[in-house]
């Protein structure tokens, strides 16, 4: 089974967002594997352990993304590929990332490609389905259960809380939803081994792409923080009174019930 995982580095969920000179500051920020991609990595390793084969994790990022790739290798992935386009492409969006990934993957002999269903930073959820479409393979998004027998796949897809039970065949792209599995922590031997596992670095040139082929179709013109929430009223009195007061406030002042 030849398995590829699409991975993105994101800010740790604990990070506060700070804006400096109109940009999101990333000095000293803790980076992690996008949590949804972590489910994808874990699932890939489990499939490989059961069926044999190889897991390759691929990211479109910059030199700092190497750390998250090494972490995926420490979890148990076999190979990693960093496609560094930071200096080649100025205007990037999900179109860019998908085009680059698809160009890398198009001549690979993949059986299944796994990705997170969304990244917790830009949260567009576009890259997985876009890559599938570019590669002309079927795609199942937001999967919470995945079973592979020969080339037959059964999956459960989370659709706004409903469960869709879906059948498809390999090759296939699947995006992971929370609940798919419990990602492992890298073990110490895993971390040691990861240092010697292959990590290739590619640039746009290596994929025979030009900047204008992959230039983003959308452009960020501003970034801002939401207005700070003011702490409101803590109600007082005995509980019964507080509840009566709350219902009155929600009805008459906030007008939401």
């Amino acid at each position: 089974m030849n398995i590829y995982v699409l991975l993105k580095s994101t800010f740790d969920t604990e990070e506060k967002i700070i804006i400096e000179d109109g940009r999101i500051a990333d000095d000293g920020v803790e980076w992690i594997i996008n949590p949804y991609d972590e489910y994808a990595v874990e699932e890939a390793i489990q499939i490989r352990d059961e069926k044999g084969g190889e897991v390759t994790v691929v990211t479109v990022g910059n030199e700092d993304s190497e750390k998250q790739l090494r972490q995926a290798l420490a979890m148990g992935a076999d190979k990693a590929v960093l496609i560094n386009i930071e200096e080649d492409v100025e205007e990037r969006d999900q179109y860019t990332t998908a085009r680059v990934l698809a160009e890398y993957l198009k001549d690979k002999e993949f059986d299944i490609i796994l990705a997170g269903n969304v990244a917790i930073d830009n949260a567009s959820g576009q890259v997985g389905p876009r890559v599938a479409e570019l590669l002309d393979i079927p795609c199942i998004t937001t999967v919470t259960s995945l079973t592979i027998e020969d080339d037959k796949v059964t999956a459960i897809r989370d659709a706004e809380g409903d469960e869709e039970h879906i059948e498809a065949s390999l090759p296939l792209l699947v995006t992971a939803q929370q609940g798919l599995n419990e990602p492992r922590y890298p073990s110490l031997p895993g971390i040691m081994k990861a240092k010697r596992k292959p990590l290739d670095e590619l640039e746009l040139d290596d994929l025979d792409l030009e900047e204008e082929d992959v230039e983003g179709k959308t452009k960020r013109i501003e970034v801002f923080l939401p207005p700070e929430k003011q702490a409101g009223r803590i109600l007082e009195g005995d509980l019964q009174e507080q509840v009566r007061e709350l219902v009155k406030l929600l009805h008459e002042e906030a007008k939401v019930i």
Binding site: T13, P35, A123, Q126, T144, E163, R220, P226
Partner: protein, 326 residues
């Protein structure tokens, strides 16, 4: 510049989802006087066409086929692409729902087009249409423009108000015959998991529980409150990790981001990763035993107390209110 805009009317359990009406309102801004064409895709959906027109569509195209009884990427892509080829629109708009999130990137790729997802505000600024969307689960926002046409947009439920329903509006309804070919993914079964049919991401009221709810049993108390308010139940990561409820109910930076009119946080401490998923709710109520809990810092109204005492009282009080106003 007038644009022709297509809006996908999403059908769920025989009704058009509210977010589709909100998408028509977004289309109205984007069209700048151009035509708004509603599209309905399904097995039997033509009867819903007038709803799209009442809410602002100028006409509606219906694609019906028994293979379209459930949403599949392949089936809906084929149906919508046939409409797009016939109509040649400048913009296509979807709700940012399980369907929109799956379908929009595929159509965008087929059209070699840009897509702005999860939009909460649309405005015309000079020559540009500017799209506002949350990033980092609402810890920040970005404004985007799109650099070419056609392009696609998905809009987040509950943010762009729908236009007023006008039952005197009329418009053409046409059927487009599309031969739906092989589907590479087959739906064998759909298991409905929602209790009251109110979607977490579309709900106007969300009652959410954290570790303080202590058990799956405890969530039933919250469900009662959600039921009297016509809302949905959600949960913090802590409650999901502890196995009190399904991950599909999780609200936070991992999980769903919700922006209801009223968010009632019960036994939730207010960790940054949870707050990211709900802080843009219009009114926040916090119920927590710990007066120092972070959640009180962002709540509009707070009650310090045991949720198992407060919530049942709240249910009674709201029932009284509903009885008095009806």
């Amino acid at each position: 510049m007038a644009r022709k805009v297509i809006v996908l009317g999403e059908v769920y359990e025989g009704k058009v989802r509210n977010v589709s009406f909100e998408a028509i309102a977004a289309a109205k801004t984007i069209a700048e006087g151009g035509e708004i064409v509603g599209v309905l895709i399904g097995e039997k959906v033509e009867n819903l066409a007038e709803q799209l027109i009442f809410y602002g569509a100028d006409r509606v195209i219906v694609v019906e086929d028994e293979k379209l009884n459930y949403y599949t990427s392949d089936g809906f892509t084929q149906a919508l692409m046939a409409v797009v080829e016939q109509e040649d629109p400048q913009t296509i708009i979807f709700g940012h729902t399980s369907v929109g999130k799956d379908l929009a990137p595929r159509i965008a790729t087929k059209l070699d087009a840009g897509l702005v997802s999860d939009v909460t505000e649309v405005e015309v600024v000079g020559e540009n249409i500017v799209y506002t969307r949350p990033i980092y689960s609402g810890k920040a926002f970005e404004k985007k423009i799109i650099t070419g046409e056609p392009y696609l947009v998905t809009v987040r439920p509950n943010n762009i108000p729908a236009l007023e329903k006008d039952e005197s509006r009329t418009g053409e309804v046409n059927t487009l015959a599309v031969e739906i070919k092989d589907l590479r993914t087959i739906i064998k079964e759909v298991v409905r998991k929602k209790s009251e049919g109110v979607d977490l991401s579309e709900a106007k009221v969300v009652v959410a529980g954290g570790r303080g709810v202590k058990s799956a049993e405890g969530f039933k108390v919250l469900q009662e409150l959600a039921d009297v308010l016509g809302g949905a139940v959600g949960a913090s990561r802590g409650a999901c990790d502890a196995g009190y409820c399904d991950y599909s109910l999780q609200i936070g930076q991992t999980g769903k981001v919700v922006t209801p009119d009223l968010y009632i946080a019960c036994g939730i401490s207010g960790a940054i990763q949870h707050v990211a998923g709900m802080s843009n709710s219009k009114v926040i109520v916090a119920i927590n035993k710990d007066p120092e809990a972070n959640i009180f810092k962002i709540a509009d109204y707070g009650i310090v107390g045991d949720l198992f005492e407060v919530v049942p009282l709240l249910v009674e009080e709201i029932k009284k209110l509903k009885a008095s106003v009806s």
